[in-house]
């Protein structure tokens, strides 16, 4: 049984107009693997509780737990985390949990990461882990965002790609692209995935994270390109709550 722990917010930074990274110091944190998530629980003064799952953005090499949270306008928890909670605040946290959607540098297969919107968060933990260990595993990231301003971690992705260590980053902007944009400008599809992924014979490890419809489009397209469904690890996110 995984116990709830007290987590104190030590740092907060805005990533985009609607997403913020919250860095927590968690008492008794046992460490995590890249790709795992945590459950957060908030308790109102009247005893009402709400819990949600969030992916960890920081790599295992960091002692703290960083979460990047996208504000959902009709959400119960995310508006508090993004707009209200300030350093010094506390909440309850359970985890890390999940043992399937994880990657570490011991896996030497070419790595394919496909993200829709804030689905990039657990994949960023993997990329940060890869960089922290100076891994040169061939890696391709395809991330879909509405506009360039909605792209989370844009600058850090450019910096990581600039290390020239085998990471290639592809971005598709689905709503609006700046002048001179030379990346993709449409929703992900089979042709795009054929362009940016390795052929099935290369035996890539593939991780897909995003909204349910995004994940299913990507996974179905990869299977139609000949990839083994069992080698594609997916994490759908959507409204959750207990």
């Amino acid at each position: 049984m995984t116990d709830w722990r007290t987590a104190s917010l030590v740092e907060k930074r805005q990533e985009t107009r609607t997403a913020a990274t919250l860095v927590f110091d968690v008492s008794g944190w046992p460490g995590h693997r890249a790709g795992q998530h945590v459950d957060l629980r908030l308790t109102a003064e009247d005893g009402y509780q709400a819990s949600r799952s969030y992916s960890i953005a920081s790599p295992p090499e960091n002692g703290n737990v960083a979460l990047t949270v996208e504000r959902l306008d009709d959400g119960e928890v995310s508006p508090y985390l993004v707009d209200v909670m300030a350093p010094g605040g506390e909440l309850e946290l359970r985890g890390p949990v999940g043992g399937w959607f994880v990657w570490d540098t011991g896996d030497s297969a070419p790595l394919v990461l496909i993200a829709g919107g804030s689905g990039i968060v657990p994949l960023m933990s993997m990329l940060r882990h890869r960089a922290a260990r100076d891994s040169t595993v061939p890696t391709r990231l395809l991330v879909s965002a509405r506009t360039i301003d909605d792209l989370i971690y844009g600058r850090e992705l450019a910096r990581l790609e600039g290390r020239d260590d085998g990471l290639e980053v592809f971005v598709t902007l689905t709503r609006e692209a700046p002048d001179g944009w030379d990346g993709f400008t449409r929703r992900i599809d089979r042709d795009m995935l054929a362009d940016v992924t390795w052929p099935p014979a290369e035996g890539p490890s593939t991780y897909v994270c995003g909204p349910t419809s995004f994940v299913e489009t990507a996974a179905d397209a990869l299977v139609s390109l000949g990839h083994d469904a069992a080698a594609i690890r997916t994490e759908r996110f959507g409204p959750t709550g207990t």
Binding site: M1, T2, H37, S53, G98, T212, S213, R233, G238, T242
Partner: protein
Amino acid sequence: MDEADLRLDGNAAAGLLSEVFATEMTVARATCAGCGATNVLARAQLYAQAPGSVLRCPNCIAMLMCIVRRPDGRLIVDLSGIRRIRM
């Protein structure tokens, strides 16, 4: 929002499953009592809307497991859709 948007992966049930089982269950391999397909629970389809969380077989969508939290906090776990679990 249509039904497809409510469908998650078994991954998302990891925290809840940790309340019931002593081991990390999303990597456990469960055999569906309906169709006989075996998959890790992380690949199951999860419907997590209150009052309960339902895990469905990714092959035939029959219910594998249902966990309901009662108002007093106690959990009711229905495992009738799983023939065998290996962990």
